[in-house]
Point group: C2
Chain length 525, copies 2
């Protein structure tokens, strides 16, 4: 595929109206062509109007047709795997092999959502049959299904240029729901965004769908994002990124004359709690493993286990030593952007200012934007006294918290804000302490991991990538896993309808053989 | 029950700290005792802290225990039926028989939610079993259930003093979800609120639950509502009332450092479309019936069919005449509060200023706050030109829109903002026009009614009482029907857990015999 740098507005390739940019190779500092087009409010308006025009038709596609479209995208993603992985590696400084895996997983996510669409359970088809003889008044026939919200804007993440970006889970779940998508490309990897966008644009055309089902826009500053969030025809927004960025979009959308749902996935330190028996038995193993996981993607992952808490006692020294040794082995690697690298340095300094002791460091940076792995330690008292120690440092830094005992561990657990995940390492003898800790973790997180690690994240039916604020802006939803589709659908009840005017999923004969809730009981008949 | 006028904070009856009020009988203008206590931010803080303390225990009650608690409330509500209906009639000027029905239906709603809790489907228990041999990496066991959000604040409605108030569907669904409730009493019917509150307070004590599961507060102005919405331990808010009131609370909650979900049900004119064949065949019947439904509760219902649209042609004159005759028969009746009565007069004047012609009026008011039934008519051109004609007039007013044909009817349908319901009257010959209209209605409403009326609302599995803004603040939810519980729950994933640490609904043996999604397939095993 020859990159053109154009905006993708419906079926069109649209040239720049507001300047251009080049991509940056952060490993070399080199700028890479082509010139990538910036658009503005006019391009946003065209993309959103096309999406709105496409909505009635696309949202009423049959389940089989919509599923086939998602499968088509999956196949096309796999077909550009080598090219997309190579370009993404160039724009991020991360290894191409990592992106080959990410592309395979993203394609699998589109296929999984195709299955979700075929199964049709997400429609939550529900039938309360008429009860003409009910007293004191008859009941009319009521049937409910979920329908798509409307055009959805997706802000791609900086740190996962595929799976949380243009052809990632947000797009897959919104398209599965029946919503047209307007993706806002992240400027850290414009070429990767273009390749993904063109794959979807091609799939839309090949499937014979209205062109407005997908657009990809790009802009210089915040204006394009603001125009997207403000557009009256946009019905929902998703965002993955920083708390500041996410909350700016969230609050802006809530100030609209008609507020719209915004799901932002923002910040999490994914605390890991090691209970005494597990610490004594496996302290060194846990310490080394955690560091390895934390350094994935140069520590630039929302699920990085950033804070490890354990009470001083048997195994603590071994954990500390093993973690330190592992950090020392870690090579400094290029971070995603110069801006992220600079924030990393500032935030690491902040940790030291807040009293964290540096107890281990990886190899020294060789290039300008290399991130050096850093291991810090604080006492439980320090940790409880300084809220800033509980905040995310985006990059390869880990904080070890040495607590006075299980009571202080519980107190520390209660001090955290909302998290995407929390992890518990516990052996049989830790059972009572685990039971005390679990309700506290449940209130503060979307996922609790037992004797394993928060990374990697599964994408399946039982996945939650969500959690109380500030992990996300709405703990009732997830952005990863099959439940992600629920962000984009709403219930509609059809009362007293003749069968032939009902949507297919609700017709009496159940032509799609869906699972439906009939008079309060699940049935496939 | 002797009314005390106290605030109900946990198990305590708390006297006034910020003045008192008496109830008003709007039919006589008489003030009715006792003195009802006002509280302030301190009382809010006590109630919310108690709710937060009760949360871990209450949210982890077994399904059977929680269901029994809801059934207990239902029984206690029925036991006070006569007393509560009489007091509510006194405080509203509406007939006691109407409230007897409302109490019976509210008790039924608590029992229905008890069934929902026992069935446990709302937990959405989901299991992705471990796949130790999966390539390239094994999958760990993942299990998901929905858990309760935390303390919920419920703002009771003014127009339905029971079913949308202290012991209404919001409270029933929040308690069913496992959330403690802090109800804010509506000052239009403080005695009715106290009776309902004491019923729930007694049920909490009898069930042996922590006292913080329920509190009832009351305040003079907006301060108490603001304190409730601002309280850091409150996790969700529901409100039923005006667009101005709902949006003030909504926007306030979104300005919190940690925004929380607010479901506001606000405004809807529930447009009714009559297609040509139905109009020709049944114009008079539709006109008369619609007026009868619209006048229920003196027009003070969120589901009032306020706007009737039909193209001029055979049957239009009959519809108009029948509606006019029916309005003329309608007696002026006391409105809920002097404030609502004054707004009604102002809004009816506004309709006339906006060009609506008064074509029928009910009997003249006999008392100060009687609402006179009014029937207006405009042309389709007027209706399309003046957005204010599409806004709610709370009270017994109806607007008839005389359109030029089916094309203008479609144009008018597209002009509406979000609605709780829309109704379509169509005969066999109207089928093509109905099919053209349906996608437009689906985008704008939570419920489409066919050849029936928007009032009454069923409370069942397939109910939706929701819809796009401004009908509600979040179209993805409903405040009536079994789906109302979804506002108050969020997913949590338990990864790689030993069986005995899992919540009961997720244990391998399925001890509760729940429907669960196992490896993508629904099963009860």
């Amino acid at each position: 595929m020859t990159l053109t740098g154009a905006l993708l507005i419906g079926a069109a390739q649209v040239p720049a109206t507001a300047g251009t940019m080049k991509a940056l190779n952060p490993a070399t500092g080199e700028l890479i062509g082509p010139e990538f087009a910036f658009g503005g409010a006019d391009e946003v308006d065209r993309a959103v109007r096309l999406a709105d025009e496409a909505f009635d038709s696309y949202s009423h596609t049959g389940l089989a047709e919509r599923a086939a479209f998602l499968d088509l995208i999956a196949g096309k993603l796999e077909a550009v795997k080598d090219e997309l992985a190579a370009r993404t590696a160039l724009e991020t400084g991360l290894p191409a092999a990592q992106f080959e895996g990410e592309i395979v997983r993203s394609a699998a996510v589109f296929r999984k959502f195709a299955t979700v669409v075929r199964q049709g359970r997400f429609l939550q088809a529900t039938i309360d049959p008429a009860q003409p003889d009910r007293q004191p008044a008859p009941r009319l026939d009521h049937r409910l299904q979920k329908v798509a919200l409307g055009p959805v804007v997706i802000f791609g993440a900086g740190n996962f240029p595929i799976s949380y970006s243009v052809a990632g889970g947000d797009t897959a779940s919104a398209l599965a729901a029946g919503c047209p998508v307007i993706a806002k490309a992240h400027n850290a990897h414009p070429g990767a965004a273009e390749i993904q966008g063109r794959v979807i644009q091609e799939a839309v055309a090949e499937a014979g769908l209205p062109e407005g089902v997908f657009s990809l826009v790009r802009g210089a500053g915040n204006e394009i994002g603001e125009a997207l969030v403000d557009h009256p025809l946009v019905r929902a927004v998703t965002f993955t990124g920083s708390e500041a960025g996410g909350m700016a979009l969230y609050r802006r959308a809530q100030r609209r004359p008609d507020p719209i749902p915004v799901f932002t996935e923002m910040t999490s330190v994914n605390p890991t709690f090691v209970l005494p028996a597990a610490l004594a038995a496996r302290g060194a193993e846990i310490g080394a493993n955690l560091v390895q996981r934390a350094m994935f993607n140069v520590g630039q992952a929302c699920l990085k286990p950033a804070v490890l808490l354990a009470a001083d006692g048997p195994g603590y020294g071994e954990l500390r030593d093993a973690a330190t040794a592992e950090v020392r082995k870690a090579a400094a690697r290029t971070m995603l952007t110069p801006g992220i690298h600079d924030s990393y340095l500032r935030n690491a300094e902040r940790l030291e200012d807040d009293g964290a002791a540096l107890i281990g460091a990886g190899t020294a940076p060789a290039h300008a934007w290399d991130g050096q792995s850093l291991l810090y330690e604080v006492t439980g008292d320090q940790f409880l006294a300084e809220p800033a120690l509980r905040e995310e440092v985006f990059g390869p830094a880990i904080l070890l918290v040495r607590l006075t005992g299980t009571d202080q561990l519980l107190e520390a657990a209660r001090a955290f804000r909302g998290q995407l995940s929390a992890t518990l390492h516990a052996d049989a003898a830790d059972r009572a302490a685990a039971q005390r800790l679990l309700p506290t973790l449940e209130r503060r997180t979307g996922r609790i991991v037992f004797n394993a690690f928060s990374i990697p994240q599964e994408v399946s039916y039982a996945s939650t990538h969500g959690g109380p604020f500030p992990a996300t802006s709405d703990s009732r939803f997830t952005s990863v896993g099959m439940g992600a589709i629920e962000r984009f659908i709403r219930p509609v009840t059809y009362q007293n309808f003749p069968d032939d005017l009902l949507p297919q999923p609700l017709r009496e004969a159940n032509p799609l053989r869906l699972w439906r809730l009939v008079d309060g009981e699940l049935t496939q008949h």
